[in-house]
């Protein structure tokens, strides 16, 4: 007896149709009612070709008592700080103190989106990966929660979800038993917002300490700023090629 492989056949032909018939227009079923997903809008890659998304943070403009970026991230991605050392580490405010002079600096630290991410090197399943546009992510569908990446990260930018989570933001799924960290608001980047929740919040306070943009686009504000003013990478000695740069530290 031939077992019908309905599932596969149907799926392939459907995909082929979509690939070949890229121009297949949005299906109109009744007047004014169209289908959002079938055909129509091109399934072009959501990634901007050749982009290298990055952040530029001016510690000189970042007041110690401000944590607008942290609250904005918490709201955007639906995580909470409980004052425990198992807290999420998407973004946090850090105070740096130079020993000899006593000069203090306050700045936000999040995933630095390395060119050569140690978290990717150590991941046994390939769940920790770098998108083509430079954003370092956890593919939570394949993350087994081993936490090697947390140990490999020089910036303590990842954390593990220890408890069951409910009522997540629908654009930012997160749950027990997997590792998480700053995803540079990929959902916003992919829909073309051209900014992240933390940068928006920082600009709203008027401090303007954070800037988001494409480091590879010479016309972008961030690329111009980076090529004009001095900025550094944290732990530049490690040679990881960070996507996040700091000024005045």
């Amino acid at each position: 007896m031939i077992i019908p492989t309905k599932e596969k056949g149907a799926d392939i032909s459907r995909r082929d149709l979509l690939k070949k018939g890229g121009a297949m227009a949005t299906v109109t079923l009744a007047s004014g009612v169209t289908l959002m997903s079938f055909g129509g809008k091109a399934r072009a890659d959501g990634l901007k070709p050749g982009a290298r998304w990055g952040l530029l943070i001016d510690a000189g403009k970042c007041p110690e008592d401000c944590s607008a970026c942290v609250s904005a991230c918490s709201k955007e991605h639906g995580w909470e700080n409980n004052g425990l050392n198992t807290d999420p580490q998407w973004i946090r405010k850090v105070t740096l103190r130079e020993k000899s002079s006593g000069r203090e600096n306050s700045l936000p630290v999040m995933c630095q989106h390395c060119d050569e991410p140690p978290c990717v090197d150590v991941c046994p399943t390939g769940a920790s990966f770098k998108r083509e546009d430079g954003i370092v992510l956890v593919n939570k569908h394949t993350c087994i929660g081993c936490r090697y990446c947390m140990m490999a990260c020089p910036f303590k930018a990842r954390s593990f979800v220890h408890e069951p989570v409910t009522d997540q933001r629908t654009h930012s799924p997160r749950g027990n038993g997997t590792v998480e960290g700053c995803n540079m608001c990929v959902h916003k980047i992919d829909r073309g917002d051209g900014t992240t929740a933390c940068v928006e919040a920082c600009q709203a306070t008027g401090n303007n300490a954070m800037m988001f943009g494409d480091l590879n686009d010479p016309e972008s504000d961030i690329a111009i700023a980076v090529s004009t003013y001095a900025s550094v990478e944290l732990r530049a000695d490690l040679g990881l090629g960070l996507g996040v740069r700091y000024q005045n530290i």
Binding site: K6, M36, F38, R43, T170, G177
Partner: protein, 145 residues
């Protein structure tokens, strides 16, 4: 073979008394919006593979316009509870759970993905309806008549 079995079951369901038939097939709540163009049968069979195929498109390639988007599934397939808020997957009446319990499938997706939509999600799925919960409820009442 599978198809044969299903049709035998369906026949059985039709032959027995209506009271009994109700318990024999899953009671899947009506969904909002337009039905899938590929049909219910296609989706019953293929939704697991569509979901697992398309999620990689989003996570790896940043493609957000996918057929198998969990975020949109739960928006159209939302079922209101007694307090007029959509039910979570903890409820046996949640659209996905209603059928999965019947077919003895357990999914872990809702450990991370919210099993119900946020207010703003309506607009993305059903732009032609104005995207407000009120307009959607009115629409639902219309189609259930």
């Amino acid at each position: 073979m599978k198809t044969l079995l299903v049709s035998v079951l369906m026949m059985a369901a039709l032959l027995v008394s209506p009271v009994f038939a109700e318990g024999l097939l899953p009671n899947i709540p009506a969904a909002l919006g337009e039905p899938h163009p590929e049909g219910n049968e296609f989706w019953r069979i293929n939704h697991p593979s569509i979901l697992s195929h398309d999620r990689d498109l989003t996570v790896q390639n940043g493609i957000r316009e996918i057929d198998g988007s969990l975020k949109t599934c739960v928006a159209c397939h939302a079922v209101d509870g007694p307090d007029a808020a959509p039910l979570t997957a903890a409820s046996p009446e949640h659209a996905c759970v209603a059928c999965h319990e019947y077919v003895a499938v357990k999914i872990d997706c809702f450990q991370c993905h919210n099993s119900r939509p946020e207010e703003g999600d309506w607009a993305a799925v059903l732009p032609s309806l104005g995207g407000t919960p009120e307009s959607l409820r009115a629409y639902l009442e219309r189609i259930s008549q």
